[in-house]
């Protein structure tokens, strides 16, 4: 081609290259990291869990699509492909009781996508983590359904409900049989404490008390049971650079350090660190919720503070508050503080002091590569 004939349609802003990263890639990696713990949940709680998961995710996609359409978006399909609605639905499903009826997932997805996200302006604009907002709203509106746990019933085990029976449970036409309902450890501890019982004795007492399980064979939410698999997913995300260590480390420290101290001081009134670590949504929260880009601070320091705050709040709610589990409340609370944390943890600008003043001429910062 003759160079003189070159005529660009327009000129372009620099830089003229791109590193190739994509937002959808991060979303995909998070889903990949969630998969083992999710599959474990299906295995542990049977088909109803799978149906609930499916309904929640499909509802999330449906609401996202509908909102985009209503707002006149010409290519809703392209936005759906970013994977964020799918991930929100998935995360929400992970926190629901595995045998909850389908409409819990449906309403939850509505709250998460429509109220939690699109009302704020869509992707990147929401202040609160949509899955956590939905989870809290559900808990307040439907406390019974949200606190009905089933004992772990591995899929192949004989009392596990079959296909059809599971469908009935998922459709809400059959309640989980009483024999199968079970208390979660945190719930048990809370009600025992409310009775004025001593925790040590309560857990020592017979069969009724839930046990700690490192493998995650316990009553609990759909995807929160398996500590090793959640941690594995989290490590995978850390290794692939999708998330950074600050928020998870902060959150774990925020729960475990107070738990350790309090338990050491008054073992009868406070659960130990291990029980906190293996119960409820702590690991899911630390690796998958507190690391959400949109609703957490930007800088490493900010994210650490966020995680620490969420962890301490979680411990306080679990140990002293009215609810047995506090991860969702704690995350929402810290979400609200995120702009403030961001303002207080801005990085130091080159050539300026932390306060933003220009450095003294002739002064050396002492930094060297």
């Amino acid at each position: 081609m003759n160079p003189i004939a070159y005529q660009a349609g327009r000129t372009y802003a620099s830089p003229h290259a791109h590193g190739g990263g994509k937002g959808a890639r991060a979303m995909f990696f998070v889903q990949l990291a969630l998969a083992p713990a999710t599959l474990f949940g299906f295995w542990l709680y049977g088909w109803p869990a799978f149906f609930l998961w499916l309904v929640t995710i499909l509802s999330a996609l449906f609401f996202e699509f509908t909102c985009l359409r209503l707002m006149g978006n010409k290519t809703p399909g392209r936005v759906l492909c970013d994977g964020s609605a799918l991930l929100t639905g998935w995360l929400l499903a992970m926190t629901l009781p595995p045998w909850a009826p389908w409409w819990i997932g449906f309403i939850g997805a509505f709250i998460a996508i429509v109220i939690g996200k699109q009302v704020f302006g869509g992707l990147g604009q929401n202040v609160f983590n949509p899955a956590m907002a939905a989870r809290v709203a559900l808990l307040i509106s439907f406390p019974l359904q949200l606190t009905t746990w089933v004992a772990p019933l591995p899929l192949a085990a004989p009392p596990s409900p079959g296909w059809l029976e599971s469908l009935h449970i998922a459709l809400g036409q059959a309640a989980p049989p009483d024999a199968m309902t079970s208390a979660s450890l945190l719930g048990y501890a809370r009600s025992e404490l409310a009775r004025g019982a001593d925790l040590l004795q309560a857990f020592a007492a017979g069969q009724a008390a839930p046990r700690i399980s490192w493998l995650g064979v316990r009553a609990g939410s759909l995807g929160e049971s398996s500590a090793p698999l959640l941690a594995l997913g989290g490590l995978f995300l850390l290794a692939s650079g999708v998330i950074r260590w600050h928020a998870p480390a902060g959150m774990l420290a925020g729960v475990l350090v107070p738990a350790f101290i309090a338990h050491a001081a008054a073992p009868g009134a406070y659960l130990d660190a291990q029980a906190h670590l293996l119960s409820g949504a702590l690991l899911l929260g630390a690796f998958f919720i507190a690391t959400d880009y949109v609703t957490t601070p930007i800088t490493g320091a900010g994210r650490f503070i966020f995680g620490l705050g969420a962890g301490i709040m979680t411990w306080i709610i679990r140990s002293l508050g009215g609810y047995p589990e506090g991860v969702a409340f704690a995350i929402l609370f810290m979400n609200a503080l995120t702009p403030l944390i961001d303002r207080c943890t801005r990085p130091r600008v080159f050539g300026r002091t932390r306060a933003g003043e220009a450095l003294e001429a002739g002064a050396s910062s002492g930094e060297s590569a």
């Binding site: 070159y6 949109v294 220009a358």
Partner: protein
Amino acid sequence: MGLMEKCFGFSWGVHPADHKRPAADAPVRVMPMPERLFVPLAQHLGAPALPAVLAGQKVKKGERIANPQGAVSAAIHAPAAGVVTAIGEIPAPHPSGLPVLAVTIEVDGEEACDGADGGPPPCDDPFALDPAEIGRRVAQAGVVGMGGAAFPSALKLSSSKKAGVETLIINGGECEPYLSCDDRLMRDEAPAIVDGIRIMLHATGAREALVGIERNKPEAIAAMREAARAHGDVTIRPIPVRYPMGSEKQLALTLTGREIPAGRLPADAGVVVHNVGTAKAVSEAIRHGRPLISRLVTVNGGAARAPGNILAPVGALVADVLAFAGGLKEEPARLIMGGLMMGMSLPHARVPLVKGTSGILALSAAEVDDRAPDPCIRCASCARACPMGLLPLEMARHIAADDFAGAAGRGLKDCIACGCCAYVCPSRIPLVQYFAHARGRLAAEERARLRLDATRKMAQAKSARLAAEAREKAEAAARRKAERAAAAAKAKAAAEAEAAASEEARALVDA
């Protein structure tokens, strides 16, 4: 870097694929004079030069055709012998499309000897010259910074001398992908570069020179080490490969550990930064009296048929350089003057090469990526990549809301437009474009404010003048009135006196 900064701080910069070879390994090709040269009068930072020739005039190679004008400016010389056919506007290498003033020379092939008229006299022992004289001669040769910013070098030399700079930093980083003209120059002309560095040491009074070369140029490092071996005051320092390592501030920090304060010159941190190409140009100017009329430029990119480095005359059209370099394989998706990260996209190839042009990139469609932007997901990749410690996403948020002052308050002034943030943004938000837009709007607002101030001052001056005039008039009227009254009183008194006198006279007559 403290432990806290390491854990919580940012690992600035990015690592784009460098695409430097095979262009960097190809020997330099010397471009013959094209038929016509278009030499812009504003090739440097500061005021454009003032033409010193007339249309129709014959010029010799190296003859001065424009003089510096104002405090910050540089002289311009004829890159070839020929006839000035026009001094007028030509399309500028600028996205705005606004034309620039240029001297058009019809090349007639008559080669004049080096150092004709315009350039400084050749000199065998530059170290015997007074430092100020070196500055004068560098100015005479029209040398400007050849790394891209094109700041007049003589000014930098004299201001460093005044500021008592201790360390001369020589930028051989060439961190921009695709470019290899500095690499090539260091491999081929290391002795001349080192000579130029030593002349600059003499001119600035600096104690030592540190030459920073990225580790991906082992041949250049070896050649420069060899050339600098005999000179203890010139140290070659291999530096990590990381963009924008070649940026003044980042390079100074890496080599000396000194941080240039915001809004100040490097001299305020005791350093001054020159490019290796500039060092070579200084040596040429001082030793041989050669003005800066040609330069090495890298032709590269997927659409270029034969990538490599070309020694081309200033004023040659990009189209001519591309054609000499082997032409284009395909229609380029983008044509860029400068580097991949900070260069500017050209609307067409009929723009001339200037002293600061380091590269011409013809990118193929496969090399560019024009995906539409998505919303910001606050992933903070941009903040981690920013070498200045800024939060590009915050600035962009303010700019998107037309809050330009807010963006300025959040570091827009400190942004060096390096493009790291836009390079890593997974949502492909054109952050640098946002910042350029905001800078433009802020500058326009500033101009408007100045204009308003000027008008207000003029209006105030006018009303003050009017008030003064009115007051004067009133005073004058009062004065006149008083005078009239006094005159009347006098007249009356006179009349009375007269009457009295006549009365007296009458009385006398009567008597």
